[in-house]
Symmetry: C2
Subunit: 111 residues, 2 copies
DNA sequence: ACCAACGTGACTACATTGTAGACCACCCGA
DNA sequence: TCGGGTGGTCTACAATGTAGTCACGTTGGT
């Protein structure tokens, strides 16, 4: 399984999925959230590729579902973060936090 | 200048440099800090390559200096994070924070 | 003075992750 | 039934992450 920790974009995808409803998130919703919150554009190709890789690593899973609030009838994939994914996310963040300790002043900035 | 934001390991390097004394940090000190704090091993090759890339992006700079507390007489490089680097670090962290908002419960875990 | 061991650093090559763009299928409204 | 939007795959490539090896000057022992 290659590596045991996440790239930054992968982390963002996991976070964005978690931010949607408890029962999972639809792909393009997730993509839109990343674009809005992180303020960067995400091409569909880049995005789906990352989802695939996360799936292969067992960090996300999905089931087919039909979005309620849309006129769409055909089911599409609804993603969810697995326990493995959550754990990876946690440890990635812990590492960063450990290194950031004591730097709050410097990192806040007046931006 | 390729991209305007940082990979995760690059972030770690910047953070670790900031954590050393105000007047800069020596390479292998930084490496050791990452290994200890983030709990992952870092090969020298990987490490210096990353320093190079950060330098090329104008995010770190260095000067020659002789470590005080060592018997070494020859100067080695002492690194410092540039304003550009600090800014990049801040914005990378802000993006992550924006996406993490409201997830503290989930992310803390009982690990 | 000589040699081994070590610290520092460059260079090479490769794996993983990040990214864009073309392409396909389906559904829907004009 | 044409065209456009949405959901998705595939391909190819760029950037980042990583290990390993080579080289050289220092240090320390003898």
């Amino acid at each position: 399984m290659t590596r045991d920790f996440l790239g930054e974009f992968e982390q963002m995808v996991l976070l964005a999925i978690l931010r949607e409803a408890k029962d999972g998130a639809f792909a393009l919703e997730v993509r839109r959230r990343i674009e809005v919150e992180a303020g960067r554009s995400v091409s569909r190709g880049a995005f789906y590729t990352t989802l695939d890789r996360l799936e292969r690593k067992g960090m996300v899973e999905w089931e087919e579902a039909v979005p309620e609030d849309s006129r769409r009838t055909a089911p599409i994939r609804r993603f969810r973060v697995t326990p493995v994914g959550l754990e990876a996310l946690r440890s990635a963040r812990q590492a960063m936090e450990a290194l950031s300790r004591g730097l709050d002043q410097i990192l806040e900035g007046t931006t």
